[in-house]
């Protein structure tokens, strides 16, 4: 027997090697051609709080979404068992450290009191003592789960006897026990294990040897004692090469490919990993030769991040900055200057759970309306949101092209879900990529930066032969201050008419994409990371006889109003459902503002955790049965 896909959850304390586990597994699986999507959930904490990885592995496709229950829960510690035992599907496998059998729930200091109370209540209702062994027994005894009890310390002892690792490091091998157990259950072969481990530890031969041993040792044990209940089908994916990347990485790669030459940033979760990635490639070396150089500049704050990026852009460099909510809030004044002064600028915006500091390491989509109207006064901007890793790649390059072509700020909206989830994907299609730097001029006798010749004036850079002026005040064609009312109107119009130009030039079907067709029974409307789970849920429901479609909104400014109106308008209003990661259903507000159509049915989630297929399906059914608003809440 074998399976087409497997869902797994691995949990443990922050800082204890969970990421290593995920990287090894993903590499091994990719090596065998499987598609993987893995979400990382963690607290705003460096060490000790509960974190976990939730993944889907598929032999048929690159997974677009996640779902519960899972087939395997791998627990590094007892907090994971208590937190996730109900995430395990009937008959699923719980991997845990049997040496912790005597741990009680109350002894777990790192668990939030609120959650502890809730679990206590739950266990009471189930009649289970709040102790690891009791919970495990309960799961085993009523056939709820298969228990893979591994005595971690004794496994490590065996291992230590053989390899004598430095004492301080021994604990860091725990993650390999989990990897091994999973490899056993999925029947990942030795070659793949070796591949995965080698990639993780790159050239560190000793570490590789140790960990390969440990993984295989545990995997063999599992195979012997449990078989491989989730042995995966051979992959049917056609990719021969795969990128294994997080969302941050994908965007960073795209920026590098797209010619980014200056990125400023101030550290912030979950945006800064992108900047570190780019910095690692600052020399842009190929076979020892440099083909360019990228300045990645850590500023003193986000105000300096955006204003220095603007400065750099004025010299003609292709620039961007990357941030998250609190950082963007500080960039608002600079954004206005860029919009007013017609500066090409990309802001890569990773949304997290707001408001304020909010849930800084969790996901959300609650900043859309803010990005559309941020900064005082009116100026044109592009707001573009990506739905998955692949979209993010192409969009990141388009964003830079748009910024230069239209000489304005482009806000590229992403979120923590995407930023921090691993995926395996194909290498981008280079035939779809191009670079558009807009209208650039070099020399400049009597150069006028804001020459009136339509919304776009030819751009000369600081350092070219032209002399020019910029100011945040209203200005004349040269960039000098003017308060003249007639000029004011002309210059204001010139700026604002960019929106009409863009609306004309960029195909509405690129700005909003319909998955499915008009004959569907219902229409989901969403954006960003909702895409995957929406499409998968629709597919699931289709197999249950419900035919749905998904309207994926990508560009919010300028908004493809008539196209969207026509699509939404062709569905009965009680069959149109917003799906968003926020409270207000913000995209719905933008639809209403632009089309006059109020969508009043919505499925929303704002716990900071992604929307899962299992809950979205239920949500859709509820709405189709007459509920107006469903608030989702699944996930620890």
């Amino acid at each position: 027997m074998s399976v087409k896909e497997a869902n797994i959850l691995l949990g443990g304390p922050q800082g204890a090697g969970l990421e290593t586990t995920a990287q090894i597994l993903t590499s091994s699986l990719a090596y065998l051609g499987y598609g993987v999507l893995a979400d990382r959930e963690y607290y705003s904490n460096i060490k000790g709080r509960h974190s976990y990885i939730h993944a889907r592995i598929s032999a048929e496709m690159i997974p677009l979404s996640l779902s519960y229950p899972v087939e395997i829960v791998g627990a590094m510690d007892s907090e994971t068992i208590f937190t996730h035992f109900e995430d395990l599907g009937d008959g699923g496998y719980l991997i845990y450290d049997s040496s912790t059998d005597n741990r009680t729930l109350s002894s777990i200091a790192s668990m939030e009191p609120i959650l502890k109370n809730r679990i206590t209540e739950r266990l009471k209702r189930l009649g289970v003592e709040a102790k690891v062994s009791s919970l495990v027994d309960y799961l085993a005894s009523n056939g709820r789960a298969e228990i893979v009890a591994l005595d971690f310390p004794s496994i490590l002892d065996t291992f230590k006897k053989r390899f004598e690792p430095e004492p301080i490091q021994a604990s860091r091998y725990v993650s390999s026990i989990l990897v091994g157990a999973v490899c056993g259950l999925l029947d990942i072969d030795e070659e793949a294990v070796k591949y995965g481990v080698s990639r993780r530890f790159m050239k560190k031969e000793k570490l590789i040897e140790h960990n390969v041993f440990l993984v295989n040792y545990v995997a063999d044990y599992i195979r012997e004692n449990y078989g491989s209940p989730y042995k995966l089908d051979n992959s049917r994916l056609s990719l021969n090469e795969m990128l294994t990347v997080m969302g941050n990485d994908v965007v960073a790669m795209a920026k590098i490919v797209g010619g980014l030459r200056y990125q400023s940033y101030y550290p912030i979760t979950p945006a800064s990993d992108e900047s570190f990635f780019i910095e690692a490639f600052e020399r842009l070396e190929v076979d020892g030769d440099s083909i360019g150089g990228i300045v990645v500049f850590q500023t003193e704050d986000e105000i300096a991040a955006i204003t220095s990026a603007i400065g750099a852009s004025l010299t003609g460099a292709r620039v961007a900055t990357a941030t998250s909510g609190p950082g963007f809030s500080l960039m608002v004044e600079g954004l206005g200057w860029a919009g007013h002064s017609e500066v090409p600028l990309v802001i890569t915006y990773y949304q997290r759970g707001g408001p304020s500091t909010g849930l800084p390491t969790r996901g959300g989509q609650s900043d859309l309306l803010f990005t559309l109207f941020a900064s005082h006064g009116e100026f044109p901007r592009i707001v573009l949101a990506s739905g998955d890793h692949i979209e993010a790649f192409y969009d990141a390059i388009e964003a830079m092209n748009y910024a230069e072509r239209y000489q304005l700020p482009v806000i590229h909206l992403l979120d923590k879900f995407l930023a921090n989830s691993f995926i395996t994907m194909g290498i981008p299609d280079f035939s779809k990529i191009y670079i558009d730097r807009g209208m650039i001029v070099e020399d400049g006798e009597d150069y006028r930066r804001y020459e009136f010749n339509g919304p776009i004036s030819p751009r000369a850079n600081l350092g070219s032969k032209a002399v020019m002026w910029y100011t945040g005040d209203e200005h004349d064609e040269y960039g000098h201050i003017t308060e003249d009312p007639e000029y004011r109107i002309k210059m204001y119009n010139k700026r604002m008419e960019k929106l009409d130009l863009i609306d004309k030039e960029i195909d509405p079907e690129k700005r909003a994409v319909l998955y499915g067709d008009f004959s569907a029974d219902y229409l989901l409307v969403g954006w960003g990371f909702v895409k995957g789970v929406a499409i998968d849920s629709i597919n699931k429901l289709r197999s249950q006889g419900l035919n749905g479609a998904y309207l994926h909104l990508k560009m919010f400014s300028p908004f493809p109003s008539s196209y969207v109106k026509s699509i939404i308008g062709s569905f009965d209003s009680d069959r149109v459902i917003l799906v968003e990661h926020n409270y207000l259903a913000q995209a719905g507000k933008i639809v209403a503002m632009n089309t006059g159509t109020i969508i009043d049915r919505m499925i929303v989630k704002y716990t900071g955790r992604p929307i899962y297929v299992n809950e979205l399906i239920i949500g859709i059914r509820k709405i189709l049965e007459g509920e107006m608003r469903v608030v989702l809440s699944y996930g620890a």
């Binding site: 065998l32 990639r199 090469e241 795969m242 190929v286 500049f297 010299t315 910029y470």
Partner: protein, 317 residues
Amino acid sequence: MVLKPSHYKSNVWIDWCPGCGDFGITAAMYRAFSELNLDPAKTVVVSGIGCSGKTPHFLNVNGVHTLHGRAIPFAVGIKLANPELTVVVNGGDGDLLGIGSGHFVAVGRRNIDILIILHNNGVYGLTKGQASPTLSKGVLTKSLSKPNIQDAVNPIALALASGYTFVARGYSMLAEHLKNLIIAGIEHRGTAFIDVLQPCVTYNDIHTVEFYRKRVYNLEDEGWSPDVKGEEQETNKKLLAAWEKSLEWGDRIPIGIFYRNTGISTFEDRLSEEIPIYKISPPSKQIISDEKGRTLIDREIFRKIFRDYIIIRKQER
């Protein structure tokens, strides 16, 4: 071709109050730029918001009139992306030392090769004369309804504490002296700062031309030697001496170069160490695509650069 000072004057009407010290600063800039024979197209004057913020419009070189308090980070971005440009910042005391003091401090940690000129008039000029961060406690200018309740920050001491490698003071009415400071500041490799005493004739009736005329003296005239030569020992000695001088404010007010250290690498140098091609080919100068708009990085190069992220599938069994 040598450009005369008048060449650096733009044709925009200067709308400062008659008698404003800002005229002196601008005049000194015209002359310094002329003596240095700066190419207007390769020179950028960056300002914040305030009376001082209008400066770039009155100069016939590139001008970037930015946001209140943000001239420094704008200038930093310009300089880092195109280090061949001469970049000068003009800011008010509210601008650089009030709302912008975070950037003022931060740039000291980098030693980026720009010159920062402080228009120190003790007031928020353009918003009609509120006390600025350089106005001392208890001072009552005609624009205030009661004596200033906040104490003054000492621009020279702050710049020294922040790591500036060139710290000077000028006086807007001594144009020749100021011009020389500006030249020295531009020629200095690293972050240079000139605190310019600038009478605001409309709102500050304490720090007037009369006030300064009596007090200002030239450090050089007293044999002051601001230059650090060599080791750390010497750096600390000069730094302390400069700090001590910075405390002199009363009957006698020193102008001139307080401190200069040419032994600290500029940020641009440091970047070049990281990115060897940086100086020849900084961000502003790089070509990122061919004429057809194709990316420099094609599929093959992509595969090479990012090989650590690419997994080649096991050959089919």
